[in-house]
Symmetry: C2
Subunit: 385 residues, 2 copies
């Protein structure tokens, strides 16, 4: 399989886009990525999305995307893996270009979650869990994460306030990202005073419901090298899986799919965790950030929170996370999130991250989680410049 | 890219499976394909499905499939392209194996459409069309096809009864397929007397709402050759696209995506239409069968119906279609249909089609249509024995 590179990125600001439809969101992010790559056509468009059928009554997003973007007769379909849909679509694009079947592929992530009531959106999101064994009991996605956080606190003796720095760091970084949904720093006090959603998950432990679209253009690395831009190589693409229902996992706090996914990615890339300059992890909830740090090899079991307490997750820390705000502050438009992570990582690796730039960033990891840990997709990206 | 072969197939009977859930359907078809291939694990499972989120409140089908099948920690996600979802998933599997990234891949198509009221299912299916410009006007999927059929009859002077043989042939073939939903032959009288659904589409012009699951196992052709079975090579995989909304197409009856999709497939396989032993086309509606025959090069424009009138589409005809009943009689569980077509084509190419066997079948084409012609995916399959 030949090497694959990212030669263009595009995104729209994350927020509540009541004035435009899902097709406009795809158009803006997709064409931005193609302009960035300086191309006018692609061989295929793969769309990561979870909820457009449920929320907008619109399936068949691939056809809609190429139709509205004016990409006549261009192969397109949707890829879905709950909140990991964006990374799953990236993986399909990676295979299409890597196989030699196609040369240029646009991978697009999109989600529009604010056109329905909160209750409807919460119900739609619950479809990422096991409908027959979890959702039928009335549990929501936040509640599943609350159970994990509660157990974690019980097992390892942490208090709620120990998680504050995950939210504080994300918001501090989001403040310098014009595409972030929340661009105001918060204090630990704000974290503590925030209303409870599902104990112990407070409002500041959880990422927001929002709309967003982000995209990248893929090309063979050999070709990318000839271009007058700073391409980024996809050095690893790896998937880990665990039982869908949390109660079916032998050890829910092990987040076994993340451990496999990270280990496979390190192996493919031939690197160790310490080689990474930063880690765009899936902080949909603070508990997920803690577990991801542990399973990726940055902390012992039960010690992920310590990295936040010690400030190691900040831009100057040993393992910067959520460098442009993460899911918490940039936002978590579910099917688009995996692409926002990659777009932001590429921005860092190109040295274009402005006030949030990680000095000499060369090697990055993105990790996208579907269904409180059932599908975990990891990519390692390397600056080719 | 290396050659890819199909080394196992599985299916469950198409019907109304009120007694089992979508996970059981995936399990039965998936494990049947793995048993047929004589393997106990795969590198990935890609699931073609359109409606599980809308109908069962269950997204994240990839994770559910590997979980319930006991395929621990096996990569899986869903691929969606409306009624062409099954073939889109096959194409992803083809890229995964062809690229060298994975050796064995299970591609599974599944749809459960009968657990909701007819009205709800019709509304969910309409999501394959343009939600903002078509569905918002109250048009259903049957109505879109009725407009196409009406226009075709007006342009070329055909009568409703001229389409009868599409349904008669499908039901005659379905009678010998134990997995078909309808296993009784019908007469032209039955076709004519059937109730009207959306004029001129009568009940016998339309494929049924139903449940089904079908699967194939993919492997590198080099490896397949060493096995003690009759593998089938994927000789071409091609996608054609057209604007999503029918009114946006310059010439709706041209079914331009089918023309591109077929032409690309012939080109890749290095064959001409006349080289094919049979053609598993997408007869979701009789009008689609007629248009598919024309765009695939078996008839001039406006003359597809003549092939049915002349009996050329039967098992002994020049271009046998729907050899195991097609969408009309075997049934059209939308996300599974593309896989049923491929499973049946492989059955023919292995010489295992029983009473419906096409003598010396060596080369077959399957074509799967999403959204009344927006996404059209074609595969050409060749017996390797």
């Amino acid at each position: 399989m030949r090497d694959v590179a990212i030669i263009g990125t595009g995104q729209i600001p994350v927020g509540e886009h009541w004035d435009i439809g899902i097709r406009h969101m795809m158009l803006e992010a997709g064409l931005a990525a193609m302009r960035d790559a300086n191309i006018e056509s692609v061989g295929a468009v793969y769309v990561g999305n979870m909820l457009s059928g449920e929320i907008a009554g619109q399936a068949h997003l691939g056809a809609l995307a190429v139709d509205f973007m004016g990409l006549d007769n261009t192969e397109a379909f949707k890829v879905e893996a709950a909140c990991a849909s964006g990374s799953a679509a990236l993986r399909v694009g990676y295979m299409a270009v890597g196989s030699g079947l196609l040369d240029l592929v646009l991978v697009l992530g999109v989600e529009k979650m604010t056109d329905t009531s909160g209750r409807e959106t919460t119900a739609a999101l619950a479809a990422a869990a096991d409908a027959e064994y979890e959702v039928s009991q009335g549990i929501s996605f936040v509640a599943l994460n609350a159970l994990l956080m509660q157990r974690y606190m019980y097992e390892y003796g942490w208090q709620r306030e120990d998680f504050a720095n995950f939210a504080v760091t994300a918001h501090a970084n989001g403040a310098n990202n014009p595409n972030a949904m929340f661009q105001r720093p918060i204090s630990a006090q704000t974290y503590l005073r925030a209303p409870m959603v599902a104990s112990p998950v407070g409002l500041m432990d959880a990422s927001p419901v929002c709309d967003g679209a982000a995209a990248v253009v893929l090309a063979p690395a050999e070709y990318a090298r000839t271009l007058n831009l700073a391409p980024v190589r996809i050095k690893a693409s790896a998937v880990g899986m665990a039982p869908l229902a949390v109660h079916d996992r032998a050890d829910p706090l092990a987040l076994s799919a993340a451990r496999t996914s990270s280990a496979k990615a390190y192996d493919q890339a031939g690197i160790e965790p310490g080689d990474l300059d930063f880690f765009e992890l899936h902080d949909a909830f603070t508990i997920m950030a803690a577990l991801s740090l542990e399973t990726a090899g940055f902390a012992e079991r039960g010690k992920g929170v310590q990295l936040a307490l010690d400030g190691e997750i900040g831009l100057q820390g040993s393992v910067p996370i959520a460098t442009m705000g993460g899911l918490k502050a940039r936002g978590h438009p579910v099917g688009a999130t995996g692409l926002y992570q990659v777009v932001e990582a590429v921005t860092q690796l190109r040295g274009l991250a402005g006030a949030n730039q990680i000095p000499d960033a060369h090697l990055a990891m993105t990790q996208n989680i579907g269904g409180s840990g059932a599908t975990i997709i990891t990519h390692i990206l390397e600056a080719m410049g």
